[in-house]
């Protein structure tokens, strides 16, 4: 009897301290104000009293359900939980940030075109066609992007590196093969039109 009397107020106190509605509100605000994912252990810090993982996870599940259809979703990624805008909101958000995707310089595009149509080519070949020196930076940009790679060296003095385009380029251009690139005939026609 006395044991019961002693434990009762204690457990009541605990229930009182962990105000789940309040904690859910705090979790939500934390997720709203943090762009980085928050781990479970970070989220647990938001409770004034020690709390079980399962309780936090339960609240997160509730939050995820409450956000359904709101254009924002609560997701669980590798490093924790985070809110993000649903992809279908993207077109609207883009209207606010018309930050156009960066464009490659003419030098990069011309180098890529030469490699695509004349592969395998050396840097010297590219320079000969473009009429100017090709910086390592340009080639590195295209290599980093995974659009060109080194497939060997030409057996001439200096053993120049041979570049060719990759499957990755075709994938990114949504082509099945290099033959689907705009044909050169078509282009020379265009050229003639220009001259006409």
């Amino acid at each position: 009897m006395s044991g019961q009397v002693e434990t009762l107020p204690l457990s009541e106190e605990v229930v009182e301290q962990v105000d789940l509605t309040q904690l859910k509100k705090i979790l939500k605000v934390a997720l709203l104000t943090t762009a980085e994912p928050l781990s479970l252990s970070e989220l647990k810090k938001l409770s004034d009293t020690p709390i079980e993982n399962s309780v936090v996870e339960g609240l997160l599940k509730q939050l995820a359900e409450e956000h359904a259809g709101s254009g924002v979703e609560l997701g669980h990624v590798a490093s924790g939980w985070r809110l993000r805008a649903c992809p279908e909101m993207q077109p609207y958000l883009d209207r606010l940030n018309p930050q156009k995707p960066p464009r490659y310089s003419r030098a990069v595009m011309e180098t890529l075109a030469i490699i695509a149509y004349r592969q395998p080519v050396t840097r010297g070949d590219i320079e000969e066609i473009r009429g100017v020196a090709v910086s390592s930076q340009i080639l590195r940009t295209l290599e980093t992007r995974g659009w060109i790679d080194v497939i060997g060296t030409r057996d001439t003095p200096g053993k120049p590196t041979l570049y060719a385009t990759t499957k990755g380029l075709l994938d990114d251009l949504n082509l099945r093969s290099l033959q689907e690139l705009p044909s050169l005939d078509e282009m020379s026609n265009l050229l003639e039109q220009d001259n006409a």
Partner: protein, 270 residues
């Protein structure tokens, strides 16, 4: 002044007879350790003067120049005795105070008084009040909740930010690049453009990739039989082209024996 007795205060909370430093005694006694704090506490001579006036209940409208100057000089002397680096402004203010004091000692001609000639203290008063006004405004500004300090802004991730770093290129871009190149080249050389060139080049790349390991491969293994006759022909031309450019080595050890192809010596770069 018995300074040595009075060094019990720590650097940041100096107490004199149990009183914190900021409640400085009227006799202007300053423990030596406190001088630096004084310099840090007061933001310039106007600030120090305001402190003296407010703390000693001096009348701003009728500043007792003798008393104020004496107290101010007390601080300056103490700071200089301790060879603390004193901002020049403090010395300039000392000169201003002494000048006002001396002008007040001179009898003012009645004419000037009638003509409303300014009290020599007027400019000092104006400056003191203006400074005090701004000092109080700064305190109030600091009390306003600040973004990042007192409240956070809501910012939910838009995934795009991460994804869109790389420029997008489409076929049309590539075509335009090539076109502009051709335009330029056309000015110099007549460029012979042939349709089939592309697939030959493509096959050259494919064959070279296949041979990248550096070992001999059977000639027939270099062909993609499923590609049809046209493909076979193009691949054959590609291999010939590679041989012409000394990119591959083709060998046949016996008549009608297997033909082997391998990349030229240094082609196995990786």
């Amino acid at each position: 002044m018995d300074a040595s007795e009075q060094t019990q205060g720590a650097t940041y909370s100096i107490h004199i007879h149990g009183q914190p430093l900021l409640e400085m005694p009227r006799d202007l006694y300053i423990p030596p350790d406190a001088l630096e704090i004084v310099l840090e506490t007061f933001h310039g001579p106007l600030d120090l003067l305001l402190y003296l006036i407010r703390k000693h209940n001096l009348d701003v409208l009728d500043i007792p120049m003798a008393k104020l100057t004496q107290q101010y000089m007390g601080y300056i002397d103490a700071m200089q005795r301790n060879r603390l680096e004193l901002a020049a402004e403090y010395l300039v203010m000392a000169a201003v105070l002494i000048e006002i004091k001396s002008r007040m000692l001179l009898p003012r001609p009645p004419k000037a008084v009638e003509a409303g000639e300014e009290d020599p203290r007027a400019e000092l008063l104006r400056r003191l009040l203006e400074y005090e006004q701004m000092k109080l405004a700064a305190q109030k500004l600091n009390e306003l909740p600040q973004a990042g300090r007192d409240f956070e802004l809501v910012q939910v991730l838009i995934e795009r930010v991460v994804e869109e770093r790389l420029p997008n290129v489409n076929v049309e871009d590539l075509r335009q690049a090539w076109l502009s190149l051709l335009l330029r080249v056309k000015l110099n050389v007549h460029h012979k453009v042939r349709r089939e060139e592309l697939s030959v080049r493509e096959q050259m790349t494919r064959v070279l990739r296949q041979l990248r390991h550096g070992e001999f491969e059977k000639f027939e293994d270099l062909f993609e039989v499923s590609g049809g006759i046209a493909s076979l022909v193009v691949t054959f031309i590609a291999i010939l082209e590679l041989a012409k450019e000394i990119l591959v080595e083709i060998t046949q050890t016996e008549v009608l024996g297997n033909i082997y192809v391998r990349a030229s010596r240094d082609i196995t770069a990786e």
